[in-house]
């Protein structure tokens, strides 16, 4: 914002500067390697955080950029998890194969449901996403011959990564794997939000009424981003199934949809980094407070939500940006 005057002279330089990698981003990604050296005992947690961050990143693409509120995002996560888990019970335990299959299965579900999603906004959209999420949960619950029902999927066996690195007890492989997937998807998402399509998504968020008046096929854009986000959520689900070797109905719970929303809002929606920062805070806090009564945990989560809405409308990152403008991104 400080360089408005000079940038105005050259629109290309202005747009280029917005998409440029900032030094602090490189520092951030370098810092994600710290657990390998300083907290080797917490690698399992670190891998859970990377998975949650990937899931939140997926929600950020539809909520933070296109303004689509979803209360049923766990459906896509869960389908990815069950796909990877089921494949492994059938003997296809290769992690990358499961990851790809999870992405494809969730992407397909996302594509089919996107035709419904793109038609709605406001309360009806919230109800539709909530209803679809509950519907998928109920299907998985009833189809126990396939999913194991409430007992969870039995016999999940994941092979070694790339045929060489088995998933160890300490979580070295799990964290390395999750982190690489997160980073690759992040780079993809970063390209996406800085592309013409990313601009169109922000247009939908900012003013859905104006979009058709400038010739924009908003429903087609929404279908596209919802399908992409669904595939990413499916990858996150597949990662969870593979790194923990378990799949239970919990992957489809409403609670999971609510949790990922909390993480994203806590970090700040519409930044890409918001979901990651929110996931770190949320997961570390939950780990630290795991000793306390789980009911009390939700008291603090609820209080946090109330406070964020009332006092921190742009999340932690929005707050940091006010203190020290390090990116002029979503302004």
């Amino acid at each position: 914002m400080a360089f408005t005057r000079t940038a105005a002279a050259d629109p290309h330089r202005h747009l280029h500067a917005q998409a440029q990698w900032q030094p602090i981003e490189l520092v951030f990604w370098a810092a994600t390697l710290i657990p390998f050296f300083l907290f080797p005992k917490y690698l399992a947690l670190a891998s859970q955080i990377a998975i949650a961050a990937l899931f939140a990143l997926s929600l950020d693409l539809i909520l933070g950029y296109a303004g689509i509120v979803s209360l049923g995002h766990a459906a896509l996560f869960g389908v990815g998890a069950y796909t990877a888990g089921l494949l492994s019970t059938l003997g296809w335990g290769d992690p990358l194969l499961g990851l790809a299959a999870g992405a494809v299965a969730a992407g397909l579900l996302g594509y089919v449901t996107s035709f419904i999603i793109a038609r709605f906004r406001h309360l009806a959209l919230i109800m539709i996403t909530l209803g679809l999420g509950q519907l998928i949960h109920e299907v998985a619950n009833k189809a126990s011959w396939l999913t194991g029902g409430s007992d969870g999927l039995q016999g999940v066996r994941i092979g070694p990564l790339l045929g060489r690195f088995p998933f160890d007890l300490y979580g070295y492989t799990a964290y390395a794997y999750s982190l690489v997937v997160l980073f690759v998807v992040f780079v993809f998402a970063r390209r996406l939000v800085n592309s013409p399509f990313g601009l169109a998504l922000r247009g939908i968020r900012e003013n859905p009424v104006r979009m058709p008046a400038i010739g924009a096929p908003s429903p087609a854009h929404v279908r596209k981003i919802y399908t992409i986000a669904a595939a990413i959520a499916g990858m996150a689900g597949a990662l969870l199934a593979q790194t923990t070797s378990t799949v239970s109905l919990g992957v489809l719970d409403f609670q999971r949809s609510a949790d990922v929303l909390v993480m994203l809002i806590l970090g700040g929606a519409g930044w890409l980094y918001g979901g990651i920062v929110g996931a770190i805070i949320f997961m570390v806090a939950r780990d630290q407070f795991s000793g306390i009564n789980p009911q009390l945990w939700y008291f603090w989560i609820g209080l946090l939500l109330v406070c964020v809405v009332m006092f921190l409308p742009n999340g932690v990152l929005g707050c940091l940006q006010l203190a020290a403008p390090w990116r002029s991104k979503a302004s």
Binding site: V69, K142, L305
Partner: protein, 288 residues
Amino acid sequence: MALGPIFGVLFDGFAYGMLLFLLSVGLSVTLGMMNFINLAHCAFAMLGGYVTVTLTNRFGWPFLATLPLAFCIAALVSVVFERLLYRRLYRAGELDQVLLTIGLAFMSVAVAAYVFGTVQQPVETPSFLRGSFSLLGVSVGAYRLFLIAMGLAIMLLLTLMVEYTRFGAQLRAAVDNQRMARGLGINVEGAFIIAFALGSGLAGLGGALAIEIVGLDHSFALAYLIYVLIVVSVGGLGSIGGSFVAASFLGISDMLGKYYLPELGAFLIYLVMIAILIWRPAGLLGRR
């Protein structure tokens, strides 16, 4: 004789529907007026339930005497929240409203678990509401009959109030076209507070009446939220009649499903809701 079970199921389903009607009608009206998405609505219902449990079990009040208090306390507490928090977000986006109110719902669940524990709360109903009697050759639960009577009475009262009182006229104008209502000098804010209190009170009453049918524990505020939202979105925002129809329909079809197609479970309900919303995004009786 084949009529026996189906009549019984329909009866139970309708009674369940009346319960859902009480729980959801307030949310429908407040959503229609202010477009405010209150996901903490069932927390007020839960509050009503705990008021009744506490008064009967700890202070020995008769069940029926606790019901007005369940109504009043839920209404009063809801107004406090409305003044302190909700009213700041009337012009905010739906996301902020969802986050704030789901946060409140989470907190209510935690507080209930902290104060009352996580066990199901028992409640003692008067003897004439226990047991069952025979109606047209079918065994009918006395409590369910009581529920239906309450539901119909409140539906009647609400309709009379909306159609024939000054407040009702203001309410209809505000739901219909808020800007025009303000232009006509109607105190929309004031009418909204009353409607909000009334709606939350009815939810509190519903919560108290629900204990005997579906039980009461700390998770009530979230567990019944989805049913209430289904009633509201299917019935149409701001429509009392719509809520009544949708709640009856939902209650009966849920009961029929449980009785005849137990393997489908809640699946059917969600499917029907999505189908209705796709068919009529504004709900069955909604105008927008």
